[in-house]
C-alpha cells in the first residue's frame, strides 16, 4: 500500500507537468512553454535567449524569420533592427518599452481570426504565460541577445570554491544553490566501479576489479581506477560507438541492393584514435581531408573514408544527377550534425526557417565535396590497401622477389645469342614461305543469303548488311598465274564485325562448312576442281560435341559435305585475329583464255549467324608454299622484326626482339615459371590484405549548382564554389583566389573563430556520462534547439577542451573525476518528480546500456568474450531468413565461427537495411543518417532477445558451466558467486531465495526430461566442457539466463 501511494504520487506529478507548467523543472526541451529553470515563478529578469527566442522561433520565425523568400507582411522578427521597423502595413510590431503600442501585442489576443497571431491554421497557439512573457519583454525594452551557440566561445570565470573542488563542481554547486537543490551523496564504491567501467570501457566491472577498488584505501584510489580504465584498449571501443553512429559507419551501401563495401579499417581508425588520444582537431582534419594533408599517411587516408560513409546506390535506372544531389546533401547534413550541430539539411530546398543558413550556403558547403572521386551509380571500388605492419613487410618481400626475377629475366643473356638467331631464322623461313602466296583480286563476289559484299583495295572481301543464318559466298577470279597448285583463304579481323570478326557471329566466329572450286567459262559447263589436302593455322576444339570430327577441322571443308552441317572449319578462340586455310589442288591449274576460277564458300551451320565476315583468297605455284609451317606464323610487329637483318637492327629493335624471344625461349622456361609463381604469390597475398574506401581527389570537381527547391532536374541554378556559410565566414580571412578545399573546411571547423564545434562535441560527450546533454538537443544548436541548462559550464568545458589542445581523454577525465559525476543515482522522490531527466545535475542518471554493451555484458559474464581489438566485422547468430528480402544478389548469412562469434557488439556486421535484429531491438542506429543520439526504449522485443536469442542462451549455458566449474560449495555459495559475476555485488536474502527456488524447480523438471536438458545445453557453437551432467547444467543455465536478463544487469546507474 505504501508503494502504491508512492507510485500515485509520481503520476500526479506527471499530470501536473502535463497540466501546463505549474511544475516546470525539466518539463520541456525546446518547446512552447519556454520554461527555463526559474520559471516556477515568473523570472526576475527576462533573458531573450532563455525566455523569448524559443517562443519566437517556434511560433513566429516560420513566416517572420530568416527565410526571406517566405517572409509575410514584410516583418522579420529574428533581427532586432528589422523587428523594430515598420512592417508592410506601416505598423510597428515592436515598440520597445511600449507593449500596448506594439502591433505584436495587439495581435496576440485579437478576436479577429485574420489578425490573430500565430494564425489559427498554424495550430501553434500561445499560452497565457507565453503571451505575458512577450508583453513584459517589450515593456522592458525588447532587448535581443545573439543566439547563444553563435556567440564567440569565451572561457567564463569559474565560481569560487575550496581548493579541492573542481571547476565542473563549482559551476554545478552554484547552480544548485541558486535553485535550492543539494547534490546527492557520492555513490558507493561498487556502483562507482561499475559506472566507470561501463562508461569508459563498455564492459561491466568484474568482481575482482570492484574488490580491488574497495580495498584500495590510499588517497587517489578513484583517480587511479579512472587512469587504469582510460589506458585500456577497451576505452577506444567504448568511445567509438557514439562516433560511429554520428558519422553513420556501416558495412553496406544502404540503398536498394545494400551490398557490402570495404570500410572496416575506418572503424579501427576511430577506436585507435580514441586510444591514442589523437587531438580532436587532427581527428577532424584527417577525416574530412586526410588525403589533402601535407603529411598525408596511410592512417590519414583511411580516416578520409569518412567522406565515403554515406548511402550509395547500385540500382539500375537510377539517374546520375538525382544521386549526385543525394550524395551532396547527405554529406552536408553530416558536417552539420557531426561538427556544427546545425540542421543545414533544411536549406536544401529553401533558406533555413530558423537559422541563418541560406540555400546558397547549403550548396556552397556541398561544393567542398565535389572533388571526391566516386562512381555515382554502381559498385564502389575496392579501395586502398591497408596492410598491417607484418603484412606490409610480407607484401614488400614478395614484391621484391617478383621484381628480382623479372629483372633477371629481362637482363642480358649473352649465352643465348646463337639461340636467338636460330629462333629468328626458323620464323623467317615461315614468313618467306608465306610470302609465296599471292592474293588474287576477285572479279566479283556475291552472297546467296542476300548479305552486302564489298571487294576492297587490299583484295579482301567484307560482308555486311543482312545477317542470314546460312550463306554461300561465291567469288570469281580472272588472271591467276599459271601452274597454281594451292588455294588459300585468309580470314581477317575487321572493326565493323562483331568482336572484330572475322566471322559475323556475336563472338567473331564463323563455320565454313565446304569449299568448292570450279573453272567456269561463258557458254560451257563448269569444271569442278578436286582438292588433295587441307591445312589451317587454327582449328577450334571447343563446342565440338556435335561435330563428327571432334573438332572444327580444315579437312571437313573438302569432304564434299559428307559429314553434315555440324562439321566445318571454325577458329575460336582466335576471334579478332587473322587465321588461314590452305588447300592443295589435286592437279595444277592453269586457266585458258576466257576461263575464270570460281570459289564457293559454303556456310551452312545455320545457328547464330556463323557466316564469314572478312576474308581474302590467294594462290600459290611453288610447292614450298604448301609445306605446313614448322613454327607458328609470327604476326604483325614481330614479323617485321624477324625480317630485319641482324647487322641492320637498331638497338631498340634488338631489345624488342629479345623481349619476344625471352617470352618463349625454352632455355628460359624455368626462370619464367619462377617469375610467374612469384607474381602469383604476390597477388594472392595482396588479396588477403584489407582494403578500405578512401577519399581520392579528382582534378575536375563536379559542378555544383543551386537546385531550386532541391529539384535536380533544373540545371539553371547558380554555380557554387566551396564556401563557409556566410554567417560564420571569418571576417579576418581575406577572400582567396584559390578554390577552397575540404582541408579549409576542416581548418575552419576547428578554428578559434568557430563557436560551434567545441560546444557540440563537449555536449555530446557529456551525454555519455550523464545520460543527457547540457543542451538536450544534441544535433540542433540553432534557434529550434535548447539553450543549455548550464550555459557557463558548457562554455567553460568547450573552451577548456579547445584551449587544452582538443584533448579528449583530458576532457573525459575531467568529467568522470568530478564530484558531480560521482553522485549517487538513487534520488529522493521529490527530486525525481522535479527533475525527471536530471537536467539540474543534483544526482547521477541511470539508463539501460547501449545495444553493443548489452551483448558485451553477456559475453563477459559468461566468459565467452574474445577481446581481440579491430578487424573485419563479424556475424553473430541471426535468425534464418532475416535477409530474405534483400536481393541483387540474394544473400545467405553465415554466422562467424571460432572466436569471431564472441566478439564485442561494435564489431557486428552493420547491414544498413537489416541491422542485426538483437542490436535493433536495443535501439542500435541503422546508420542510414547521422544520429547524434539513440532512443532508449524498453520494448517486449528486448525480453525476447535476452530470453531466446541463441547468443544469449549460449552465454547462459557457458556462464552455467563456469558456475559449476569455477565456483565451489553448496547451491547458496554458487548462487552468490554467480550473482557477483553478473552484478559485482552480493545478493540479498530475498534475491537468493528467488534464485534458489528457480534452481530447484528447474532441476526437478529437467531431471524428468534429461533429453531436453541435453538439447538445451547444446545451444550455440561453443565447445561444451567435458563431464558436465546436462540436468544440473540445464537448471543452472536457467539461473544464468535469469541473471543475464535482470534489469540491473543491463543498467548503468
Amino acid at each position: 500500500m505504501k508503494a502504491l501511494t508512492r507510485r500515485l504520487a509520481v503520476r500526479s506529478v506527471v499530470v501536473a507537468i502535463l497540466g501546463g507548467g505549474s511544475v516546470a523543472l525539466g518539463a520541456t526541451a525546446a518547446t512552447s512553454t519556454a520554461s527555463g529553470p526559474a520559471q516556477a515563478q515568473a523570472p526576475a529578469h527576462i533573458q531573450f535567449n532563455r525566455d523569448i527566442r524559443p517562443i519566437l522561433s517556434e511560433h513566429c520565425f516560420s513566416c517572420h524569420g530568416p527565410d526571406v523568400q517566405k517572409m509575410k507582411g514584410g516583418l522579420r522578427l529574428d533581427l532586432r533592427d528589422q523587428a523594430l521597423g515598420p512592417a508592410k502595413s506601416g505598423k510597428k510590431a515592436i515598440v520597445p518599452g511600449d507593449a500596448a503600442g506594439s502591433e505584436l501585442v495587439h495581435r496576440l489576443d485579437s478576436t479577429d481570426p485574420d489578425e490573430l497571431m500565430p494564425p489559427p491554421e498554424a495550430h501553434k497557439p500561445l499560452t497565457p504565460v507565453q503571451k505575458a512573457l512577450l508583453q513584459r519583454w517589450i515593456a522592458e525594452g525588447a532587448e535581443y541577445q545573439g543566439h547563444w551557440a553563435y556567440q564567440p566561445l569565451v572561457r567564463p570565470p569559474v565560481p569560487p570554491g575550496d581548493a579541492g573542488e573542481g571547476s565542473i563542481d563549482r559551476f554545478v554547486r552554484t547552480h544548485l544553490e541558486a535553485n535550492g537543490l543539494k547534490a546527492a551523496p557520492e555513490a558507493d564504491r561498487r556502483t562507482l566501479a561499475r559506472r566507470l567501467s561501463l562508461d569508459l570501457t563498455g564492459l561491466p566491472a568484474t568482481p575482482e576489479l570492484v574488490a580491488a577498488f574497495e580495498a584500495d584505501a590510499a588517497p587517489g584510489a578513484y583517480e587511479r581506477l579512472v587512469d587504469r580504465l582510460l589506458a585500456t584498449p577497451q576505452y577506444g571501443e567504448r568511445m567509438a560507438i557514439g562516433w560511429l553512429d554520428v558519422v553513420r559507419f556501416a558495412d553496406t551501401i544502404g540503398y536498394h541492393s545494400d551490398n557490402p563495401r570495404n570500410i572496416w579499417p575506418y572503424r579501427d581508425y576511430v577506436l585507435r584514435s580514441f586510444n591514442d588520444n589523437k587531438p580532436f582537431d587532427r581527428f577532424t582534419r584527417e577525416q574530412l581531408a586526410g588525403d589533402l594533408l601535407p603529411d598525408a599517411s596511410t592512417e590519414s587516408r583511411v580516416a578520409s573514408g569518412f567522406n565515403r560513409l554515406l548511402l550509395t546506390t547500385e540500382e539500375g535506372g537510377a539517374q546520375e544527377k538525382d544521386y549526385e544531389s543525394r550524395y551532396l546533401t547527405d554529406r552536408v547534413r553530416a558536417v552539420g550534425t557531426v561538427w556544427m550541430g546545425q540542421t543545414i539539411g533544411c536549406a536544401q530546398c529553401h533558406d533555413h526557417k530558423f537559422d541563418p543558413i541560406s540555400t546558397r550556403d547549403f550548396y556552397a558547403m556541398g561544393a567542398f565535396f565535389a572533388d571526391v572521386k566516386e562512381t555515382i551509380i554502381g559498385r564502389r571500388e575496392d579501395g586502398m590497401l591497408v596492410p598491417t605492419e607484418s603484412q606490409a613487410r610480407e607484401l614488400a618481400r614478395r614484391t621484391a622477389e617478383a621484381r628480382r626475377l623479372k629483372e633477371r629475366l629481362e637482363g642480358s643473356h649473352p649465352g643465348l645469342a646463337a639461340s636467338l638467331e636460330r629462333w629468328r631464322l626458323e620464323r623467317l623461313r615461315v614468313l618467306e614461305a608465306d610470302a609465296l602466296w599471292k592474293a588474287v583480286a576477285p572479279a566479283s563476289a556475291e552472297s546467296s543469303g542476300g548479305a552486302a559484299v564489298t571487294i576492297r583495295d587490299d583484295r579482301s572481301v567484307l560482308v555486311g548488311g543482312k545477317t542470314p543464318d546460312t550463306d554461300s559466298t561465291t567469288v570469281r577470279m580472272a588472271g591467276i598465274p599459271s601452274g597454281v597448285i594451292g588455294l588459300r583463304l585468309e580470314v581477317l579481323p575487321d572493326p565493323s564485325l562483331p568482336s572484330k570478326g572475322p566471322g559475323r557471329a556475336g563472338n567473331g566466329n564463323f563455320v565454313l562448312t565446304e569449299v568448292l572450286a570450279r573453272v567456269v567459262r561463258d557458254g560451257a559447263p563448269a569444271r569442278e576442281l578436286a582438292f588433295e589436302s587441307a591445312w589451317a593455322s587454327q582449328e577450334q576444339t571447343v563446342s565440338a560435341e556435335k561435330n563428327p570430327y571432334g573438332r572444327w577441322t580444315a579437312a571437313s571443308v573438302i569432304d564434299r559435305d559428307a559429314r553434315g552441317s555440324f562439321a566445318g572449319w571454325a577458329i575460336l578462340p582466335e576471334a579478332g585475329k587473322p587465321s588461314q586455310l590452305r588447300l592443295r589442288l589435286r592437279e595444277p591449274l592453269t586457266l585458258a583464255s576466257g576461263e575464270r576460277l570460281e570459289v564457293e564458300l559454303q556456310q551452312k551451320h545455320g545457328h547464330g549467324n556463323h557466316t564469314l565476315g572478312c576474308f581474302r583468297l590467294g594462290v600459290a605455284t611453288d610447292a614450298a608454299a604448301l609445306v605446313p609451317p614448322a613454327v607458328p606464323m609470327p604476326a604483325g610487329g614481330l614479323a617485321e622484326l624477324i625480317r630485319v637483318d641482324p647487322a641492320r637492327r637498331t638497338p631498340e629493335q634488338t631489345a624488342k626482339l629479345w623481349a619476344e624471344f625471352r617470352a618463349v625461349a625454352p632455355e628460359l622456361a624455368g626462370l619464367r615459371a619462377e617469375l610467374a609463381a612469384a607474381e602469383k604469390a604476390r597477388t594472392d597475398f595482396e588479396a588477403t590484405v584489407p582494403r578500405t574506401l578512401v577519399t581520392e581527389r579528382s582534378d575536375k570537381p563536379r559542378t555544383v549548382r543551386v537546385l531550386p527547391r532541391g529539384n535536380w532536374l533544373v540545371e539553371t541554378g547558380e554555380i557554387m564554389e566551396p564556401a563557409i556559410p556566410a554567417r560564420f565566414r571569418p571576417a579576418a580571412r581575406v577572400a582567396s583566389d584559390r578554390r577552397l578545399t575540404r582541408l579549409d573546411l576542416a581548418d575552419w571547423l576547428v578554428s578559434p573563430e568557430n563557436p560551434l564545434t567545441a560546444r557540440v562535441v563537449v555536449n555530446r560527450i557529456w551525454r555519455q556520462f550523464f545520460g543527457t546533454g547540457l543542451s538536450k538537443v544534441l544535433d540542433d544548436f540553432g534557434a529550434q534547439g535548447e539553450p543549455p541548462r548550464h550555459p557557463e559550464l558548457l562554455d567553460w568545458l568547450a573552451s577548456d577542451f579547445r584551449e587544452g589542445g582538443w584533448d579528449v581523454k583530458r576532457l573525459v577525465r575531467l568529467i568522470v573525476t568530478s564530484r558531480t559525476y560521482r553522485q549517487s543515482s538513487v534520488a529522493p522522490r521529490e527530486l525525481l518528480a522535479r527533475d525527471p531527466d536530471n537536467r539540474e545535475l543534483a544526482r547521477q542518471g541511470r539508463w539501460r546500456v547501449e545495444a553493443e554493451m548489452v551483448r558485451d555484458t553477456a559475453l563477459q559474464v559468461s566468459g565467452l568474450l574474445v577481446p581481440r581489438i579491430g578487424g573485419p566485422s563479424v556475424r553473430p547468430y541471426q535468425p534464418d531468413g532475416y535477409w530474405e528480402n534483400l536481393n541483387f544478389p540474394q544473400r545467405g548469412y553465415d554466422a562467424s565461427t571460432g572466436g569471431d562469434q564472441y566478439r564485442r557488439g561494435l564489431y557486428t556486421w552493420w547491414q544498413r537495411s537489416y541491422v542485426h535484429p538483437s542490436m535493433l531491438a536495443f535501439d542500435a542506429a541503422t546508420r542510414e543518417e547521422c544520429a547524434a543520439e539513440r532512443n532508449r526504449s524498453n520494448i517486449p522485443q528486448q525480453a525476447l532477445v535476452l530470453l531466446n536469442d541463441p547468443s544469449y542462451v549460449e552465454a547462459a549455458r557457458a556462464f552455467a558451466a563456469r558456475i559449476l566449474r569455477e565456483a565451489s560449495g553448496d547451491d547458496t555459495a554458487r548462487l552468490s558467486w554467480a550473482w557477483r559475476q553478473a552484478l559485482a555485488r552480493d545478493p540479498s536474502a530475498a534475491e537468493l531465495a528467488a534464485l534458489r527456488r528457480l534452481l530447484e524447480a528447474q532441476r526437478a523438471a529437467f531431471a524428468q526430461d534429461p533429453e531436453a536438458a541435453s538439447q538445451f545445453t547444446r545451444t550455440g557453437k561453443a565447445p561444451a566442457p567435458d563431464g558436465l551432467d546436462p540436468v544440473p547444467w540445464a537448471a543452472w543455465t536457467d539461473v544464468a539466463r535469469a541473471l543475464l536478463n535482470l534489469h540491473e544487469t543491463i543498467t548503468r546507474s
Binding site: 535506372g317 539517374q319 528480402n885 541491422v915 524498453n938 522485443q941 543498467t1051
Partner: protein
C-alpha cells in the same frame, strides 16, 4: 534522440499505466501472466481495458476507419495492364511517343533511348453496376468492383524502387523518417493486447523481379521504437526470437520469466526506477506473445469455407494466406497491417508478369473485402492497394515497361471511402495524371483523416522541425470520402 512534448506525454502516460500495472502485479499482473496457462483466468482478465492509448486523444475529427490494411504491390504494377484502360495507346502501339508528353520528365532505365508507344497487352472489360473498366483478368476483384474507389491519377516524386518505397511509406525520400504505420500507431495507439500495433507481412509469387525491401520501410524513425512495424515471417519464428530455446517448455520458460520479474521487482523497491516496472510489463507481454502469435498464425483453425474463399492453404506463405492473416490481425485489434507482395517489376514480359500477379492477388483481394464485409468490419477497415509507382506507356525492350511516376492507379476500399467510383484520370496515353492529380501526401492526409486525425496536427519535433507524415503538403481528397 530529441523527444518532443507529445512523445514525452505518451511515454509518461505509458509509464504511469505500467507503473500501475507493475505495482499491482501481485494481483492483476500475476493474473495476466498466469492466464496464459489457465484460460479461465484469461477470460476474467479480458474485462480490463486493452491495448495502448495514442497521442491523438480525443480524435481531431470523427473517425470513419479504425484500422488500415495496406497492400503494397512492390515493384510498381503497370496501370496499363490492370486498372487504367487506354484505347488510344492501342492505336499508337509501335509509334514514337510524342515528345510533348515526356519532355523534362524523369525517366529511369529508358534514359537516352528512343521512346516508342507500347499498347496495353491485356484486354479490358466493364465490371459491376458502376461499369468500371478493368483488365479482364481481374474477374474476382471485378465482382466486388462496386465496393472500391479507383484512383487513376496517382503520382509519386520518386522513380527508383528504394526511394519510391520510402516516399510512399514515410512521405520523404530521406531515410530515417517514421513509416505511416508507425505514425498511425503513435497517433491512435493500438487495441491489440498481446500483439504489436503495426504488423508487416511479405510474400513473393511467380516471376523473377524480386526487388529488395529494406526494413526501414516499416521503421519508426524518430518515434519511439515501440511504434516500429513488426515483421511477421512465414518461415521460422513468426516474430524473431519468439520461440523458447530448444529443450525449454512453456512451463520452464514461465518459471524463468517469473523469477526475472520477481528479482526486478525486488530491485525496484530499492532504487525506485519507473523503467523497471516497464521492463516487468514487457516481459509479461513477451511471454504472452509467445502464445498469442502462434495462435494468430494458425490459419488451419479457419473453416474450410474461409480457406476456400481466399484460395490458400495454411502455411503456404502466399499473398492469399497473408490476406487471411490480415483479417485475423484486424480482428485482434492491430491498427496498421501492411502486406508486401513482390515481383511487380516488369521491365520485360509485362503481359505474362501481370498474368502471374493477377492469378496471385485477384481472388485474395476479393476474399479480404468479402470476408471483412461479412464480419461487418469493412466499414471501419480502410484497405489501400498501391505500388510504389506505375509503368511507362512506352515499351522497354519490346515486351516490358519501365518505372513511371507521372501517373498510375491505386485503389481504396472500406473505412468510409466512397465505393464504386473512379477518381482522376491520366492523359489519353496513360502517361501523366491530368484530371485531379493525387500525390502521396494527399493519400496520407486522406488516410489519417479517415482515422480521425488531422494530418497537420500529428507531428513530432525533430532537429528543430515539426516533422509530419505529410511534410508541408497534403490535402484530404474530399471527393472520395
Amino acid at each position: 534522440m530529441n523527444l518532443s512534448p507529445e512523445i514525452r506525454q505518451s511515454l509518461l502516460q505509458q509509464q504511469t499505466r505500467r507503473v500501475f500495472l507493475g505495482r499491482a502485479s501481485q494481483g492483476l499482473g500475476a493474473v495476466a501472466l498466469g492466464s496464459i496457462l489457465q484460460p479461465r483466468l484469461l477470460a476474467e482478465s479480458a474485462a480490463r481495458p486493452r491495448g495502448m492509448a495514442g497521442v491523438v486523444n480525443p480524435l481531431h475529427v470523427a473517425a470513419k476507419a479504425r484500422r488500415v490494411i495496406w497492400l503494397s504491390m512492390a515493384g510498381g504494377p503497370s496501370h496499363l495492364e490492370t486498372f487504367d484502360p487506354k484505347p488510344k495507346l492501342v492505336e499508337m502501339h509501335g509509334k514514337p511517343m510524342p515528345e510533348s508528353f515526356t519532355r523534362g520528365k524523369q525517366i529511369a532505365q529508358l534514359q537516352g533511348q528512343k521512346l516508342v508507344c507500347y499498347g496495353p497487352q491485356l484486354p479490358f472489360r466493364r465490371f459491376g453496376k458502376s461499369g468500371v473498366e478493368l483488365c479482364s483478368l481481374f474477374t474476382h476483384l471485378g465482382s466486388v468492383a462496386d465496393e472500391i474507389c479507383w484512383v487513376r491519377s496517382m503520382t509519386s516524386e520518386a522513380i527508383n524502387h528504394d526511394p519510391a518505397h520510402m516516399f510512399m511509406n514515410t512521405g520523404s525520400q530521406i531515410a530515417g523518417r517514421p513509416s505511416m504505420g508507425s505514425w498511425v500507431t503513435y497517433g491512435l495507439g493500438t487495441e491489440a493486447e498481446n500483439l504489436p500495433g503495426f504488423v508487416v507481412l511479405t510474400s513473393l509469387g511467380r516471376g523473377g523481379q524480386n526487388q529488395p525491401i529494406a526494413a526501414r520501410q516499416w521503421a519508426a524513425g524518430m518515434l519511439p521504437s515501440r511504434y516500429q512495424g513488426v515483421h511477421l515471417r512465414g518461415k521460422g519464428d513468426p516474430v524473431m526470437y519468439l520461440g523458447a530455446p530448444a529443450g525449454v517448455t512453456r512451463e520452464r520458460q514461465h518459471e524463468v520469466v517469473r523469477t526475472i520479474n520477481e528479482l526486478n521487482r525486488q530491485h525496484d523497491a530499492l532504487v525506485d526506477d519507473p523503467e523497471i516496472s516497464t521492463r516487468i510489463a514487457q516481459y509479461e507481454m513477451a511471454f504472452q506473445m509467445q502464445a498469442s502469435v502462434p495462435e494468430l498464425m494458425d490459419t488451419a483453425s479457419e473453416p474450410a469455407s474461409v480457406q476456400a474463399l481466399y484460395g490458400c492453404k495454411p502455411g503456404d506463405g502466399s499473398f492469399a494466406s497473408n490476406c487471411l492473416l490480415a483479417r485475423r490481425l484486424a480482428e485482434r485489434g492491430v491498427r496498421f497491417i501492411q502486406l508486401y507482395h513482390k515481383d511487380w517489376d516488369h521491365h520485360g514480359e509485362v503481359k505474362q508478369g501481370v498474368e502471374f500477379k493477377a492469378a496471385e492477388i485477384d481472388r485474395a483481394c476479393m476474399a479480404l473485402i468479402t470476408d471483412l464485409k461479412q464480419r461487418d468490419m469493412l466499414k471501419d477497415t480502410l484497405i489501400v492497394w498501391a505500388g510504389e509507382f506505375g509503368r511507362t506507356p512506352m515499351s522497354q525492350g519490346g515486351s516490358g515497361r519501365d518505372h513511371h511516376n507521372a501517373g498510375f492507379t491505386i485503389w481504396m476500399c472500406g473505412g468510409g471511402i466512397r465505393p464504386g467510383m473512379v477518381y482522376g484520370a491520366t492523359d489519353e496515353l496513360g502517361y501523366a495524371a491530368v484530371d485531379s492529380p493525387v500525390d502521396v501526401h494527399d493519400i496520407h492526409a486522406t488516410l489519417l483523416h479517415q482515422l480521425g486525425i488531422e494530418h497537420t496536427r500529428l507531428s513530432v519535433k525533430f532537429q528543430g522541425l515539426d516533422v509530419r507524415l505529410t511534410g508541408i503538403a497534403g490535402r484530404v481528397i474530399r471527393d472520395i470520402i
